[in-house]
């Protein structure tokens, strides 16, 4: 009777217009039977957290190629927590240098993907993270 579907918010925070990667992921998630809410470009962390709340998503995916991830990601995590949404899993894709990965993991990021990451891996990890 119940019809539960995984809901994922895909956002591009910060000043970065390169959205091809985000769109590839959006499309792949759709084809995996996931409901994807796409917010578009140039989102502030506040906008991302607000959309995550209104849409009650299981996962937030952030696409960042601007190099500002160490500023943007912690802020998004903080705001999600402040809104009572600490259960939301955060995934990042884009250009993330290896040396930043441990710190991001420590902050609570569930998945980190660089160029060429197979979308199947992302889907598998999302399913594992939300138990869907």
């Amino acid at each position: 009777m119940t019809d539960r579907r995984i809901r994922v918010l895909v956002a591009k925070p910060g000043l970065d217009g390169h959205d091809r990667g985000a769109k590839v992921v959006v499309r792949a998630l759709r084809d995996a039977g996931i409901e994807v809410i796409y917010t578009g470009l140039r989102q502030t962390p506040e906008m991302v957290a607000e959309a995550a709340l209104q849409e009650d998503v299981d996962v937030v995916g952030l696409s960042i190629l601007s190099g500002a991830h160490m500023a943007l990601v912690p802020r998004v995590l903080e705001l999600l927590k402040a809104n009572g949404q600490e259960q939301v899993r955060v995934f990042i894709g884009g250009i993330i240098p290896d040396e930043d990965v441990p710190r991001l993991r420590e902050l609570g990021v569930t998945g980190i993907y660089g160029p060429g990451a197979p979308t199947d891996d992302i889907i598998k990890d999302i399913r594992a993270a939300v138990g869907g």
């Binding site: 119940t2 579907r5 959006v26 759709r30 039977g33 989102q43 506040e46 709340l53 209104q54 009572g84």
Partner: protein
């Protein structure tokens, strides 16, 4: 626990609200309980439907309308329900209406919720009405319901909304498209969006001719092609009834807009308010509401009766009957009669 969920929603808790919306979408028992508790608090919001073909600018228009409602004096609280299609193959969906609504971010008086249609074909999801009801109970004054990009027959929105807006744009079809039955018929207000584009005069002319040709009709929905007049409350005057004077009928308005910069949107919002006044003055608001709850009751009764009947029917008996129909021993009609009468054969 659910009593507290609903009381949190009544006191404006956004986390509780968003959680309940998910439950409602997933049609859980918790959601049904909460909806029962919230129901007496509904019936106040103005439900406004926005429909039209893909790419006519529905989301951008909704964005501008919401901005206007927020800057009104006093500002009105706005909920937006934006429906996009689910894939018929995977069930996945891309819900992209928020892309056009970034201006609304950061305003606690606005709540935007995207919904996937999840297999429904009428332009809305099965649970859209219930989601709108939750927003109504949560104290939103206006609920803007944006349908999937609609073609000609996705008219469910007119059953749900008090005011239905059909959005057109230049270059979508000639005057024959304009006189076909279906989506244009349900419009209380027709918007010609993208009015800065060439061809807007032709589009507006075709639509105006269509409106001039029209004989305004009372909007009583047909059930499977048959008119079932909604049962009227004892004190209500029937529309166009023999005895009393007929209620005036609403003539659809036409409004040009440019959603990208807001041109024409203040006039559109004015027209929507006039339509709401009209509904209240003529008693149509109550009449439409009654017709809506009656349709809902009918649907529920049908679903529940079928469920109850099937529970008392053995799977074997059902399969056996199916076999007989497939082997052309019984017609589907005979078979249904036999099952209902408890007859074997």
């Amino acid at each position: 626990m659910n009593a507290s969920l609903s009381s949190k929603i009544l006191s404006g808790d956004r986390l509780a609200l968003t959680r309940l919306l998910t439950q409602v979408e997933n049609d859980t028992p918790e959601a049904r309980e909460a909806l029962d508790v919230l129901y007496p608090h509904t019936g106040r919001a103005h439900l406004i439907g926005i429909t039209g073909a893909p790419g006519t600018g529905k989301s951008s228009l909704v964005n501008q309308m919401a901005l206007l409602y927020r800057s009104a004096d006093p500002p009105r609280k706005v909920a937006i329900v934006a429906v996009d299609p689910s894939s018929p193959f995977t069930g996945g969906a891309v819900l992209g209406d928020r892309v056009r609504m970034r201006d609304l971010s950061g305003d606690p008086g606005v709540f935007v919720r995207s919904m996937a249609s999840r297999g429904s074909l009428g332009g809305l999801a099965r649970s859209t009405a219930a989601v709108a009801r939750v927003f109504d109970a949560a104290g939103f004054d206006v609920v803007l319901i944006e349908t999937v990009g609609a073609g000609q027959t996705e008219v469910d929105i007119a059953r749900l909304a008090h005011t239905t807006i059909v959005v057109e744009a230049p270059g979508l079809g000639d005057d024959i498209q304009a006189i076909k039955a279906g989506i244009l018929e349900i419009a209380d207000i027709i918007v010609v969006n993208k009015a800065d584009r060439p061809g807007v005069e032709n589009t507006e002319r075709a639509l105006r001719i269509m409106l001039d040709l029209a004989h305004p009709v009372a909007k009583v929905f047909l059930h499977h092609g048959q008119a079932t007049a909604p049962s009227l409350p004892p004190n209500a005057e029937p529309v166009g009834g023999e005895g009393g004077s007929p209620s005036p009928l609403w003539i659809p308005l036409l409004q040009r807009t440019v959603a990208i910069d807001g041109t024409g949107v203040p006039k559109l919002v004015g027209a929507i308010d006039r339509h709401a006044d009209f509904l209240h003055e003529t008693g149509d608001w109550a009449r439409v509401d009654r017709a809506r709850v009656e349709a809902e009751l009918e649907t529920l009764l049908r679903e529940m009766l079928v469920t109850r009947f099937r529970e008392g029917l053995s799977g074997e008996r059902y399969q056996d009957t199916l076999d007989q129909i497939a082997n052309r021993k019984l017609s589907p009609w005979e078979a249904a009669q036999n099952l209902l009468n408890g007859r074997k054969r």
